[in-house]
Symmetry: C2
Subunit: 199 residues, 2 copies
């Protein structure tokens, strides 16, 4: 309860952020109004810019404000190794934790027919085309070790086999049922380094 | 690490929010981009509107986009009881937890000469004028039970005495060294109900 309608609206709007309930939304609103108005204006500006201008890279489907994201546009990245992840946040986890210098492909989901997530939604036609292009020598399957992630991995390994590309999977070490995003960097780096050929 | 400059800037900007570190800023950014772009746009809009249009009520100094906040402008509130709090967030805590139907005065700080917070910065001239106006019968001192809050309470009780107004203080029950904002509603409501005359 405050004496300002705009403040109440701000508190309500802050709840779109994950993990932000009524109490912390209120604290955030009061904090920025009392102590960091320039920071709040900058955040407003960056939120609007991100939502309006960030789309998907046409090559890897990750977030990008340009046709090609900065990974795909970087001539120094190794085009012969392609790492497939479910989401941009998983891509970011791999990039931060490992010394990987290849390229990525982002599924923007995982195989889940009941939710309408099939091969088309995961962009597998685009991926298959790329595998057939002959530039990729290894496909690193870095889906999450969940039931749906494993089903997705199975499909990806078939795709690689059809294209004559070697498929590898992150080594065990990733906890079962866990999500890449929440794994500590050391474990993820180890699992990444010990990835094994999919049979 | 992502392939988008705008995304990196958004993650950085989110850190102006209290309690948001690098990891949760990243999770928030990915979440809104993947799942709630309308919510993010609305938040951008509400942040900008709040920063640009919310100032201070000219009567009680709390946040308001109008000359008078909705408390001061409400003819149904009891003008004879005035509750003094340190900050808008404390005002909100009292309003939510108690059945208080009077009006507020917000110091926007507490007495702290070393930080340049003296009577002038706390708006005590405005408060003294109001007490002399004859409309206020009771001044409820709801500063925080910290050393500086107690010093502020002492000054406020002098102000009330000079104006011939009864000053009361929240009852014990508020934990020493605690902040109103973090006290559970039941404790705060009890302390508010058992407030005692300042001697
Ligand atoms: Zn890309
Ligand atoms: Zn007011």
């Amino acid at each position: 309860m405050s004496g300002s309608v705009l403040l109440a609206e701000l508190i309500d709007a802050l709840r779109c952020l994950p993990g932000v309930g009524a109490k912390s939304a209120q604290r955030m609103a009061f904090h920025v109004l009392e102590r960091d108005r320039p920071g709040a204006l900058r955040l407003a500006d960056r939120l609007a810019a991100a939502v309006e201008r960030i789309g998907n890279c046409r090559r890897c489907r990750s977030f990008s404000e340009n046709e090609l994201c900065s990974f795909c546009a970087n001539p120094l990245r190794d085009k012969s190794v392609l790492c497939v992840v479910e989401s941009p946040v998983d891509q970011s986890a791999v990039e931060t934790a490992t010394g990987f210098r290849g390229l990525y492909f982002v599924l923007l989901g995982r195989l889940s027919p009941l939710d309408g997530m099939g091969p088309r939604e995961l962009g597998l036609d685009l991926l298959a085309e790329r595998l057939r292009g002959g530039e990729v020598a290894e496909l690193i399957v870095a889906t999450n070790p969940t039931v749906e992630g494993e089903a997705t991995a199975h499909l990806l390994s078939q795709l690689a086999r059809d294209a004559g590309v070697r498929a590898t999977r992150l080594a065990h070490g990733v906890p079962l049922g866990g999500e890449l995003e929440f794994i500590d960097r050391g474990t993820l780096a180890h699992a990444f380094g010990s990835r094994q050929t999919l049979t």
